[in-house]
Amino acid sequence: MTPDDLLFTKEHEWLRIVGEAGTIGISDHAQKELGDIVYVELPKPGMKFNSGEPFGSVESVKAVSELFIPVSGEVIEINEDLGAAPEKINEDPYGAGWMIRIRLSNTDETGDLMSAEEYDEYIQEAAE
């Protein structure tokens, strides 16, 4: 089940907003497509990104995918645990596999993002 408190991008990142802070990771579908994740490259806290910009990359054994930020903001924390245990993204993409926390610079930017339900439909359509 896709948690319904999340918003999704077409590039399969998720965003959970609590107040002015947002937590970002990749969807269960994305981790399955990538296969065993072996490395994540994340930005340093303090770096700022505009919505849609790449903020890092995720690597499986034979592929590299860029990560795109769902909304504009400043990185306030990264998930340090992923350095030693990137498999957490495969095991728990919406929990322990989170990647970064940001301070949103503009809370009105979420209009283009999909709800969990819309995202599930989007994946369904892509598969067909």
Partner: protein, 474 residues
């Protein structure tokens, strides 16, 4: 045909299965207007005895089988016989890149051992599976330092092999890299005072070589410390890898600030023959934290799904076949077989043997230098400690070593001489003797001797290889 097993009958059967009436038909997609409607203009096929004759004749025209006392990046060391015996096994030399790990454990483990040896010898955390050679290795090290530092200015010592510097220039010129040279001091080492003045916070890395092109030993640890104090990385290049067996490794020091960040170089000295310039084998070693910025292949130790230890190519997401234009390098191959030669060499000589070989190099070079100083009018121009090479300022002629006039015109009539453990005492004495005599100008000039040689050979070549169509152009 020698290398084509299919018989005429086989070919007919195969064509029938394909449903084509001729082999020609299989090429129907190649338009007529680009087809070659004549035979290639190549020499007529030679038989095996003719091939042997041709190549033996060419090999005989290459002299220098006596000791030419020439090094300059390619060193003549004794090559243990077992190396050729082992690398001549088809299992090693006719195998492909070990992408299918289950049936390439031999190659993979050998490379893993190479990585281990190089890391140990350089005092670094990790080394890659080898690079084309030292010169391209140095260019890759520069690109790597640019990726790590995100800075673009490099200070490179003039005492780094001039051809290596030329290769760096070729690689660097379209990538926004700016190279500034560091001059050498009168003792033949990097001029530390000038380096200190040159190095600012905008410098990505300082690049030095030790032993350097003049054969002298640089203070690599002081240079690393200075580089680090200005926020630059330290790259140490090694052309004469044998020296790693005795000199303090650039990557090793009690203080972290005094350790190099990248040690790169050429391992030809470890059992790989000069072969007129290649193939040799480059290496690149670095700190754990820079692994993902490394170019080239890496072999890792992992496990199969039933838990047995197994070797496998790893961290390949850095490489071109996955990242394409964003890869850390465009390198596809390594120098596996040459890396294997180096690995067998190091296993054979062992730590004591390697140190002894180093001592022989140092002692023999020192003996030769002293003899020259005492018995000839030539002068040794650099006073710094050296390994197995030294520079002579020559009065008159010198038929040994490498003239430095092309690379260092400011040194005038200077020659770089190399004395390894393979030079016998009587050969060194004969060389010194010769140098003592040739202080006067020689009578025969070189171009004449080329001509004489060439004429004699033409006759031989014709009789050996009558169908050699390029004969016309000779």
């Amino acid at each position: 045909m020698r290398y084509i097993p299919n018989s005429e009958t086989d070919r007919k059967q195969m064509l029938a299965e394909i449903g084509a009436d001729s082999i020609e038909r299989l090429f129907s997609d190649i338009p007529e207007n680009v087809r070659l409607r004549r035979l290639l203009n190549l020499p007529k096929a030679l038989t095996e005895p003719e091939l042997l004759d041709y190549f033996h004749a060419r090999a005989a025209e290459v002299s220098g089988r006596g000791t030419p006392f020439i090094g300059a990046g390619i060193y003549r060391h004794h090559i243990p016989i077992i190396i050729d015996a082992l690398i001549s096994r088809s299992e090693f030399y006719t195998a492909y890149t070990p992408y299918q790990a289950e049936i390439a454990q031999g190659t993979l483990q050998a490379i893993f051992e190479f990585q281990t040896y190089i890391a140990q010898l350089t005092g670094m955390d990790v080394a890659n599976a080898s690079l084309y050679d030292g010169s391209t290795g140095l260019a890759e090290a520069v690109l790597m330092a640019q990726r790590i530092s995100k800075k673009h200015k490099f200070l490179i010592a003039r005492t780094v092999h001039p051809e290596y510097r030329a290769v760096v220039d070729t690689y660097a010129k379209n990538l926004g890299i700016h190279v500034e040279l560091i001059e050498y001091a009168p003792d033949g080492r990097v001029d530390m005072d000038r380096l200190e003045r040159q190095i600012g916070q905008d410098v990505a890395a300082v690049v030095v070589q030790s032993p350097n092109f003049f054969g002298t030993i640089e203070h690599t640890h002081d240079i690393s410390e200075l580089a680090h104090s200005r926020g630059a990385l330290s790259i140490v290049n090694v052309c004469e890898a044998i020296a790693l067996g005795i000199l303090k490794p650039p990557g090793e020091d009690a203080s972290e600030h005094r350790r190099a960040d990248i040690v790169v170089g050429e391992a030809q000295s470890f059992g790989v023959p000069p072969s007129f310039g290649g193939p040799h084998v480059g290496f690149l070693a670095t700190r754990e934290r820079y692994i993902r910025q490394m170019p080239g292949r890496l072999v890792g130790l992992g496990r199969d799904y039933s838990g047995r230890p197994a070797f496998v190519l790893t961290l390949s997401t850095r490489e071109q076949h996955i990242r394409r234009e964003k890869a850390t390098s465009n390198i596809c191959t390594n120098q596996s077989l040459c890396a294997l030669m180096a690995t067998i060499y190091l296993a054979t000589v062992g730590p004591k043997g390697l140190r002894e070989i180093c001592e022989h190099n140092i002692l023999k070079a020192d003996y030769a230098a002293n003899e020259i100083r005492n018995r000839t009018r030539h002068r040794l121009i650099f006073s710094a400690p050296r390994f197995n090479e030294f520079v002579l300022k020559v009065q008159g002629q010198c038929s040994f070593g490498l003239s430095l006039s092309r690379f260092y015109p400011e040194l005038g009539n200077a020659f770089l001489l190399c004395v390894t453990e393979t030079a016998r005492r009587h050969e060194i004495d004969a060389m010194v003797q010769r140098l003592a005599i040739t202080s006067a100008p020689r009578l025969t000039c070189r171009s004449t001797s080329v001509l004489c040689l060439k004429k004699a050979r033409l006759v031989a070549a014709r009789s050996i290889c009558r169908h050699w169509t390029f004969q016309r152009n000779l």
